[in-house]
Symmetry: C2
Subunit: 221 residues, 2 copies
Amino acid sequence: MFTYEYPHPAVTVDIVIYTLRDDELKLLLIKRGGKPFKGKWALPGGFIQMDESLEEAARRELEEETGVSGVFLEQLYTYGEPKRDPRERVITVAYYALIPSDRVEIRAASDAEAVGWFAMDELPKLAFDHEEILAMAHERLVAKLDYSTLAFQFMPGEFTLTQLQQVYETILQQEIDKRNFRKWILALECIEETGNEQRDGPHRPAKLYRVKEPGKVEIIK
Amino acid sequence: MFTYEYPHPAVTVDIVIYTLRDDELKLLLIKRGGKPFKGKWALPGGFIQMDESLEEAARRELEEETGVSGVFLEQLYTYGEPKRDPRERVITVAYYALIPSDRVEIRAASDAEAVGWFAMDELPKLAFDHEEILAMAHERLVAKLDYSTLAFQFMPGEFTLTQLQQVYETILQQEIDKRNFRKWILALECIEETGNEQRDGPHRPAKLYRVKEPGKVEIIK
DNA sequence: GCAAAAGTGTTCCAGATACACCCATGT
DNA sequence: ACATGGGTGTATCTGGAACACTTTTGC
């Protein structure tokens, strides 16, 4: 038992975990195994521990649910409406994470009945205020695609320009001219040819590229 | 006394309160009257109450320190390093506020020895991690000046284009071409002539403008 | 009439957009 | 040989940047 002179809220982290799969933007949801909202889908997350920072808490939860570490993770917003959790006052610090398409590996965590990747257009109703969190995460993702090199965080170690273009087209939901896209992306000087080619059908092989500084997300324009 | 099954952090809000005064960007600091960091300067802020939202807490603190309400206030970032406060685990949700130059009125709050407006180049050493908060607030302010109509939040009800230009020049710390600035700002169609003029010296009077939708901050470009 | 700030247009350049064909391969 | 996706260049448009003189007033 822990006792304080003044009331304290509980603090959680919730994470919007994005990846690209089957040419669709997908995010990870867990089916809640406990109260409240038992049986409803929700963002992965949990209570912070007293000896870890907020980002450490988010990375711990991320790894518990997906097994991945070292991926892009950024704080999104903090939600603290007094009644957002029916149990007690809970303030949640929301993060969003991007997982490269070749590192997806779901692990069912103990406190969830089920885990699943959902496309944006097949989302179930969510627990708490998680739909609001999702809306803000998506807004941020779309915005950052435009003014930063965030999209590279979805790419595997080697990729073709067409694959990269599909990432932009999938998230922005609009077609992009191939020549202009290539001119623009190469002018950023953030990627380089690996020298390898990908051949996967009756057509000319595609050059493979890699990101020069994989961890880095630069502001552009 | 308040008792919980698991340990809970304390949660505070801290506010970076900006205004423009004497052609300088200034922010409000308070001299701490209590422990920890007694006698040091810090951002205004305080513990959240259990029945108010985070933004309500920030607005309450803002009004306690300055007397103003209804001004621009936006969440900045949440800081939660385990040791950022020596007393106990304290997580702070930082906000920043912009006060129009004609509404500045300091009120000394009970928990502060002194209150003062500081220019960016005359800041004292600050308590806690408040310098980090300030750095992020300034970064956000400068960025938003470029891609939104945030600057209007500093303006009084009526203002001249030269005054508006000075706001940009002061915050961005660079000179702007008068003709290009006027062309750009008028093309936004966010301000309109009031019909009044300001005459204040041996020169041609300046037209006065007002913001069409004073509360609104639009994303531009 | 002079000093001081307000007001006003045009040229130039760079970056974004629009657009269509040839290339290398597997079957 | 043909079907498939990979790869490339030019003309145009648009928004930003550079730049100097006239206007109105108070003294």
